[in-house]
């Protein structure tokens, strides 16, 4: 197990290093127009420069704040509404058309509207993150609860469990892996949400950095933003995976999903 894990790590590192080298070579040879592309070294230089000026820390903090507030609120709301939908058929039928409709709506179309309503700043950006994260969490929570194991519910009934106990001891724990899968989808969508929200109007943030760099034909600055988003994505997904392994060890064994 340990050997396989470290083997996987080595291969992953080799892959990343090779891609980095390829990036550097491409940037110095056939993609050498600084308006459109920048070699890795230039991107890292730019990153150091932005860090030294203090701008990068501000951008990271702003984007992180928008993401984390939106994500937490959306998770609470998504799990809550999912639970409500799973516990009452009537309420589910009231809510369902809205969920289907809003889930299908391209949120990019909603982002400018939210900026219009809430102004340029934290509120609008949090709202965009909230909207894109809430639906995968809600839908996964609901389907996890709707597909409760009837056999296990019968076990609980056999021991004299009431409805609340059946929910808290059988249905909810059984739905947890689904909920975490929803959160993982939410992370990916939420990070995209931050960028899109900031592109539609902002004064700071990594999306803002990408926006400004693009307007100034500063390819290196643009790549700094993209690279940091990619790293954030890897980091958060890895955190969710650790949580997943802890709460559903019998599923984590099925292999990485």
């Amino acid at each position: 197990m340990r050997i396989r894990l470290s083997g996987g790590l080595v291969r992953g590192a080799v892959s990343v290093l090779a891609a980095g080298a390829l990036w550097e070579i491409a940037g110095r040879t056939f993609l050498n127009n600084p308006l459109f592309f920048a070699p890795l070294s230039a991107v890292l230089d730019k990153m150091g420069e932005l860090w030294a000026s203090g701008d990068l820390q501000v951008d990271i903090a702003v984007s992180f704040e928008e993401f984390i507030i939106g994500f937490i609120l959306a998770s609470i709301a998504g799990i809550g509404i999912g639970v409500v939908m799973a516990s009452s058929k009537a309420l589910c039928q009231y809510i369902d058309p809205w969920v289907s409709m809003l889930y299908a709506t391209p949120f990019v179309a909603v982002a400018p509207l939210l900026v219009l309503w809430l102004g340029i700043g934290l509120a609008a950006h949090v709202a965009v993150v909230f909207i894109v994260v809430v639906f995968p969490v809600l839908i996964n929570t609901y389907s996890g609860l709707a597909n409760s194991d009837r056999d296990l519910i019968e076990v609980a009934r056999s021991f004299g469990a009431d409805q609340i106990q059946i929910f808290s001891k059988i249905r909810f724990p059984g739905a947890l892996p689904f909920i975490v899968a929803g959160l993982r989808q939410g992370v990916a969508r939420g990070l995209v949400g931050v960028v899109v929200a900031e592109l539609f109007g902002s004064h700071a943030g990594l999306g803002y950095l990408i926006l400004i760099s693009g307007q100034e034909f500063d390819a290196a600055g643009l790549f700094v933003g993209i690279l940091l988003f990619a790293l954030a994505g890897i980091g958060v997904v890895e955190i969710v995976r650790v949580i997943e392994r802890r709460i559903a060890p019998w599923r984590a064994q099925d292999g990485r999903s």
Binding site: D151, L152, E154, V155, A156, R157, S158, F159, G160, A161, Q165, K169, I170, P173, G174, L176, I247, A248, P249, W250, Q253
Partner: protein, 277 residues
């Protein structure tokens, strides 16, 4: 025939004129008809019959998971109205909660009864020990073999401290060798814990080996066809299965069931034909 009969008093469990029907695809199916028997305290009784004789339905009725269509069941003279105290069901598939370790699965019953004290935790550990799983308390079900999971299933039921243990073909999914061992273990455990047990199976030798009495059921609608008292000395070793007395019991029960099995096969064929018509 269907006049209400009051429980006779000294029986642990009394089944009176029990009937069960349900609807399936707009057709009424009568699963059990006018079943009467009683079980004494500490007795081990097996129920055998061809598939479709309503064995599992009977256990679910005894557990209180489903209500009878007619008749009644009395535990210590009181009618059974729902699941809960006094009985515990050992399910055919182990049905362990995959997110709980062995100790926590075994502790499930008392937890549902909102008894979570130190005494309960110690008792759960004792039952884990009794079924021979000491050292596996922190293991999860997916880390255990089929036989071990079935032991946890049994310990979970025992830990609810039932007076009557209901077992629904608990060893059906185990391989032949593991099943033999589990049978011997079950005898040891029920004797040690002094439990009344009702054991549903379609394995005749298993029923004879374990039981004080074997109730043979007819096919649908399930009725009591004959009860066979098993006069083999206890404690029983697995070697008892090779004695002539044992073999004559199994032969006798097999003859009772054979006709039923043939009818059950015919019934299934007719139902399949009706379904495809």
């Amino acid at each position: 025939m269907t006049t209400a009969v009051m429980p006779s008093g000294d029986a642990k469990l009394e089944v009176r004129n029990l009937g069960k029907s349900y609807m399936k695809d707009d057709r009424g199916i009568e699963v059990l008809r006018d079943v009467c028997f009683s079980i004494a305290d500490g007795e081990f009784v097996s129920i055998v019959g061809a598939s479709g004789c309503g064995k599992t339905t009977l256990l679910r009725l005894l557990d209180g998971l489903i209500p009878p269509s007619s008749g009644a069941i009395y535990l210590d003279g009181r009618p059974i109205e729902g699941p809960g105290y006094g009985r515990a069901l050992v399910f055919q598939q182990d049905r362990l909660l995959p997110w709980r370790n062995v100790l926590s699965n075994v502790g499930f019953g008392p937890e549902i009864q909102r008894r979570n004290g130190k005494a309960e935790r110690e008792r759960a550990a004792r039952y884990v020990d009794l079924v021979g799983l000491r050292g596996f308390e922190r293991h999860y079900p997916h880390e255990l073999s089929g036989g071990m999971r079935q032991r946890v299933n049994l310990a979970r039921a025992l830990n609810a401290e039932p007076e009557v243990l209901l077992l629904d073909e608990p060893f059906a999914s185990l391989d032949a060798q593991t099943r033999e061992i589990m049978q011997a273990e079950l005898l040891r455990i029920t004797a040690e814990a002094k439990k009344t047990a009702i054991f549903v199976t379609h394995q005749i030798d298993e029923a004879v080996y374990l039981s004080d009495r074997v109730l043979v059921f007819t096919v649908r609608p399930g009725r009591l066809k004959e009860e066979v008292k098993i006069d083999l000395p206890r404690p029983r070793q697995l070697a008892v299965k090779r004695t002539p007395e044992f073999v004559s019991y199994t032969d006798h029960i097999w003859q009772l069931i054979e006709q039923e099995v043939r009818e059950a096969i015919g019934l299934e064929a007719r139902e399949a034909a009706a379904l495809h018509a």
